[in-house]
């Protein structure tokens, strides 16, 4: 997965992700690691003056250290060397207007999850992406770990037989204190109707479908706060049914005192099971019916499926981490853009990275959990 020739770099713009954010430096690191982008234009704060100043400090030319996102999209589309790709890492409520305007301006998009806060807007983005024939990646970045892709390939190749049970977890401690420091996610106008599902639950959901290749059919959810008196939710647990009849469960919380990251899956099929934990991502445990468990390790020696090997850079025993996986998304988006227009219809098809269609499904998942919890009943998860 190294570029054999030095292709010209794609011109990248970023909206959101100032230097004090967590995710901004991650996107910029991923872009550098991919060796495929040049960061040319930024909006780094909702405060116009600060945005410009931060952009200049980050090395932008002053006229491309924009004060706000509208100015950026408007001006860049008129430049002969304007940006080609836009990375969006604002609060969730701005994803839709920015992405929509960017598609109209002909930009390819890398957008944080959830895609947006409103289901109808999500559908519009899917439609517009296809219409404009653009590449649109939603950063379900955990699906880019090599051993996650190994799991997907194993299941797709039938190594586990028919899938029967799926268990998904995302267990954090960030909001385990009664009064955690303020965060825009606490404001449902910005963060969306469910904090915990929008912020982390959709990652777990996406991982389940990504690895099994199965659509979620129905769910029954318990959603709420595990801390009395707290207004926003911090916990959901769901019963799941996948399209093939496989049963499952999901446990997502950011209020588990002392937990760290805790994203994991355990999946069982006819012939065995797979277990993966993001905190130690280079390992995939493979349980085998009537056999011993084997510990599959990330390694580039022909023992893993090509899709896994293509997602890694290092040889056996040298751990890769969060940055390496995130960089895979940037690398694959670049490769996809470079393959246009031949691949033009692949945008929403089976490609390695998560797309706007995955983003739509994630928004629908949030809606379904809220509805199920409200009615205390099973709900269908298919997009109408």
């Amino acid at each position: 997965m190294q570029m054999s020739k030095q292709d010209p770099k794609l011109r990248l713009g970023m909206i959101g992700g100032g230097p004090s954010s967590f995710i901004g430096p991650v996107h910029r690191m991923a872009a550098r690691m991919s060796n495929s982008y040049e960061l040319c234009a930024t909006v780094l704060s909702s405060d116009a003056k600060k945005s410009t100043q931060l952009g200049i400090e980050m090395g932008m030319k002053s006229e491309r250290a924009y004060p706000d996102w509208k100015a950026m999209i408007e001006r860049e589309k008129s430049l002969p060397d304007g940006i080609e790709v836009l990375a969006i890492m604002t609060p969730n409520d701005l994803h839709y207007p920015i992405a929509s305007a960017a598609l109209d301006a002909g930009l390819h998009i890398i957008c944080d999850k959830p895609l947006c806060n409103n289901l109808e807007n999500a559908k519009i983005l899917v439609h517009k992406t296809k219409e404009k024939q653009r590449v649109f990646c939603v950063t379900y970045n955990y699906s880019a770990y090599p051993m996650v892709r190994q799991a997907r390939a194993m299941i797709n190749n039938g190594d586990l037989g028919e899938i029967r049970q799926v268990h998904l977890e995302y267990i954090q401690s960030h909001m385990a204190e009664s009064s955690p420091p303020y965060n825009w996610r606490f404001d449902s106008e910005k963060g969306g109707q469910s904090l915990v599902v929008g912020d982390i639950g959709t990652h777990a959901y996406h991982l389940g479908s990504y690895v099994t290749g199965l659509e979620l059919d129905e769910l029954m959810a318990d959603l709420g706060s595990s801390i009395p008196g707290r207004s926003m939710d911090d916990y959901t647990s769901c019963l799941l049914r996948y399209e093939n009849g496989a049963r499952g469960s999901l446990w997502v919380t950011n209020a588990a005192a002392g937990a760290e990251h805790g994203l994991s899956f355990r999946i069982f099929g006819e012939k065995g099971g797979l277990e993966w934990h993001q905190e130690n991502p280079n390992i995939l445990r493979h349980r085998r019916l009537n056999g011993f468990e084997q510990i599959m390790t990330r390694r580039k020696d022909g023992k893993l499926y090509p899709t896994a090997e293509d997602s890694m850079r290092l040889v056996i025993g040298h751990p890769e981490g969060f940055h390496d996986a995130f960089a895979n998304l940037y690398m694959e988006v670049a490769a996809e853009i470079r393959s246009l227009p031949q691949n033009i219809n692949k945008v929403a098809d089976e490609i390695s990275f998560p797309t706007v269609v995955d983003g739509l499904k994630g928004v629908n998942f949030i809606y379904t959990i809220i509805a199920s919890n409200k009615d205390r009943s099973w709900k269908n998860c298919r997009i109408k």
Copy 2:
């Protein structure tokens, strides 16, 4: 927890648990380890002739190698040195008639779970146990591991603060094959209405309440077979609510291909969390809010609560296992019996080992899961 003086041994009878069973040798080993019982009378098969023969081979006197359970209870109660304690490990449908007759005969009882297949019968056994002032232990043996008791003591002492989240699992592979070897549990007349809940689910349920000290208030269950065409259930997943508002989930199956034993709990409170796995029972992981996780190990040096130290025999680093925990039940039942009649009213109160009341709750849990699954709705778990 060693006996300082050699008390006279309690005279023990056993019904069920022939030498080719799994659980029979376990009970006998536990009795020997406790050093508190003498096995005097047996019924080791439903085939009368075989029962007598196996008893004699096991060293019983021929007249106490009984052909059937009725004969044993009838004759033993007339002997001056008749059995004082009866251990029952038959198929589930026989638990009630045997236990009922044994209580009538004035015997103390150690009975495998589930207590019985019928809720009304379970209530009768509770009533009769109190009336007859007998000791009645139901072998929820996993609650006898020292580190489980340490967890219970920590929570009881407030080390975790208020409990907020409970996650229980029991994941086995015994029925992952499409056609596992025949077992009486496949017959609901013998095994009860739910195979998977009766056989292993009640263990997980009991552990959750035992460790947290919380009653389960409501549940929402998905119950069924994960293998198409199978008549008996092999999977349940539930959403849980405990009496204090804590939320939880449970995943129980014996059809997870390649899993082994997989009984575990993870419990989070205000100040931290605890995690325990039966497969490595000498360790209790203690996550701490704003601190590092510590690995609590079974050890007898004053670092654990007395209830944990009292449940172990070995010093730091020397692993105890399944037999050691099972033997705790036998030892504690013996101590309880020896403390009669002073402790007569403690039978259904807070004592270290699980009693007939826990057995009743377990039967009620099975009923509630079946009802919730049938209606696809939340159900109250309290015993009416």
Copy 3:
């Protein structure tokens, strides 16, 4: 490994191992678990009065609650139902005189390690054991864990190919404090010339040879105290060469602050490697050249070698521990005794449990380490 018929129990005597010791209760538990012995006579203290009193409290008849070991051996040999087997768990310096007298009295012996403190005496015990045609077990009890035996069987069957590297560890914390509580082992008259090698180092050495089937050829040792000013040793590290040219190393200490038990081996051969830790003894890690590591678990379903299955009682996922392994020695000694006189020449041959010959090798190992450390040079390990 269950007895199908109830053989008459062997009459057992014990010298040492009072109720406040660690090892006494372990021996008694192992004897009970094996279901093959009746404890008939004891010497439980070096204080004659206390010895008698403790014996009576343990249920001995007063005339068999002996005040000292000479009285016991003398009187028991004259009884028609005198003891047949003697378990010795005194301080090390008494092993030789007691064992020697017991052999002369025709007793079979189960003796704690090290066999004795003097190499010539060890040779005499080997000679006398053969001459008297007795069964003599030295309690290198860690070799009785099922997964240790699986490792031995795998290597013996060539599953690893030729053995190339052996690494042994025994890392404890018992003497990590500058001034640990007094212990007879601090007195070299009682404990022998090396505390750390005699107490735990010989276990690690025995395990290395037991599992690989290889004799140690040469060693180069560093032996001493890791705490300045301490008179007794608490640390040894050695370079090893086995008879087939395999290289190895050994790290043994009881002064590693915060360690627990820490007995382990890692062994590599042409085709792969094995790793085992006593703290989690139900698992054997099997690394495979050009393959993934597999986690072999103790289980009784035909996936392990018969020698491993014969050493276990419980099915998959139900952990066995220290007591279960120790009980294997008692069970196997009983089986060996019952097979006499047909097996009379097997005493020092290849049998499942460690014998007096292993005891002699252990004493020789202690001598060799001391000599190597003194001269700071490699020494031959073969018994002259």
Copy 4:
């Protein structure tokens, strides 16, 4: 450790590390991740034509895609915008001539380990680095992991008390096959007198001294091939003595069939112990005398020492890996260069990254092992 302002990038040249090598892409990734360098000139093959072609493909201007290293150093020093830093990743025998010429040309250096094959040359490089007042980093990259630095800070701050025992391992499988694919390291002219010590042993040695802050005083080595008939060594095991009297041992091999990376340390002091494994580098196990082990995890929330926090980019639970640690070296070298000339005398002093002095010690370690093994005796490790 993010740059708050965008400093101008340092101009970097690379010799060695073609695209098909393992280490070349790692260096380039690290340089990009650090965001502090611009790669301007390359020599990517010992074949002049191929070197030029590969450089151009990598995006170099044709006149800076050099055919050989002498041409590069000669021409670059004459350019106004010539390279400032040179990264050397050739076979070991070329490290000295290239580094020496580069220092003469006034370049700062990042050089792979071992520093060179000859002890006298190593001393010359130390001398010349000081004389020329240059920054010289030797890529003992494993010391740049945040949790390794946490370990160093803990010991330096006395959290473990006086250090008493050190155990180092580096256990790989790369040469476990009888006939591994040819590698320049098999040629001692290129690779140096010891393959296994030069290639991986010096990493383990460096880690031991880096973390404890202790110089190695004496060692006793066994060095050789674990595969009969193999000419180059693949195994060493050593007994160690550090300057404060602490004892230790080391096990290094690349012929352990089925091992992966296996670089680890375990260090015990008066108050506790630390354990770290490169394969899971975000965790540091902290055993505590008379307490429970705690699992320290890489996290940026004030729980770790500043030196550890300064070496990480990601928050709790998001794993960092090999690339992240390697990038630390590039980032710190850049910071050091930018701090010149004020820090001019710090070059060989206590700084975060390993220097030419560490490189010299590593070469001396190789010499000492060879001498000890030859004489089968303890040898002093101090540089004369």
